[in-house]
Amino acid sequence: MSVGVGLRARLASGAFAVTAEIGPPRGADPEALRRKVAPLAGCVDAVNITDNAGAHVRMASWAGSLVVAQAGAEPVMQLTCRDRNRLALQSDLLAASAVGIPNVLLMTGDHPKFGDHPDAKPVFDLDSVQLLWAARMMRDEGRLLSGRALSTRPAWLIGAVENPFAPPAGFRAARLAKKADAGAEFVQTQFVFDVPAFARWMAELSDLGIPERCRILAGVGPVRSLRALDHMRTSVPGLHIPGEVDRRLRAVPADQVAAEGLRICTEIIERLREIPGVSGVHIMAPGYEHGIPGILDRAGLAVPRDGEPGPQASGGFRGAAPPGQHWPQASGAQGGRPAGPARPAAPTLGSAGAH
């Protein structure tokens, strides 16, 4: 991959970023994964590889990430705290950098109760904030949680997730601020269907000065059927679908639901691009990966993602990020919002060697 291509460069340039998400197969055949990635290579900036999503066993995300990279797309390796203790998490992070995985997305993970092995022992040795903290320390200070020095520092971009819509609503911006303090450089959100609620969360983040330090990619995706709608409403923890979206999907004939879902998805992307501080979208379309280029086309985001600048993100960031530093500062006020109170510098790890 040449300089200027990929998620890091896209986010540093201030151009509107697009990531997508695919789940590895329940099996040992890489071909299914290659088929899913093929339509995405060259039309998105990076592709997330889920880590036993929904607590269902799939091919490991690091291996899936390698398959995706071989197929010509830049991987974002998801890593959850559910299945590993702090030893395994840190060794997997080292492994990811060693094999050239350029981005990691660190998250708590769904509880095993919802998965295909509800009898499994949930680990949750670290929480997502602590894992972000550990990753940043490994990369920027060259140390493990124990304080022991690394021979070579890893080099990935560190991502996090957040759900702007789940209670306690008043704490959600502060929670992302904690993740940014801990080390998150970008965040991908839960599905956005309620754009006004998302805009309120973004305004809180801008007041805290978060988008300058941690790029915000809004999660989007098409609802393809009423069955999918019901599944999302009832079985996906923390997902909020407003009544207006529900009514629109139920108001059309059954054979028109998929088309209406795509229209809604496209409209949401267009509205998200108008919100100050939004750096991109993260498209989740399980089973419909081949339709993602079409969604990008309809939303005006179908630019070649081979280093050419795309449409500017609403924040209007310029320049390249200095190595190991925060993202470049906004060239002007973020959509007219005040910069907000200064946040303390990222935490240092003080007595970490005391073990």
Partner: protein
Amino acid sequence: MLAPNAAYRGLAGALARAPAALRVFTAAEKATKGAAFGCRMCGQCTLPVTGYACPETCPKQLRNGPCGGVGADGSCEVFPDLRCVWVIACERAEREGQAADLLVLQRPVDHRRSGQSAWVSYWRGDDETLLPPPQAGNVAEGPR
């Protein structure tokens, strides 16, 4: 109420030298906090900075805030009959004007301390995660 003072430090020092008395004290702490807060005796109590809602009672033991699966009504995604520990913590912290406490980055739990008295550790000053000083910004020191 439990903030370290000379008497508590003296008590903790004495308990640390008397294993039988420490066992009795630890059992009393377990019974008290177990009844009041559902304490799991992790040995590194965060109750004072989490609105006295115990994060160890969260099914994911999250110490730095709620997961993304909280129900719209504030219910726990894993046990929907329960309210999310962090929803309770946020409500109480806001009511008491202690919302800044929730911004503290909590270190990973030291599992060697499981079952030990958090109060004695606190009074002896060998658990820096117990009550981060309020003037320390919103960032606790690094993991131990």
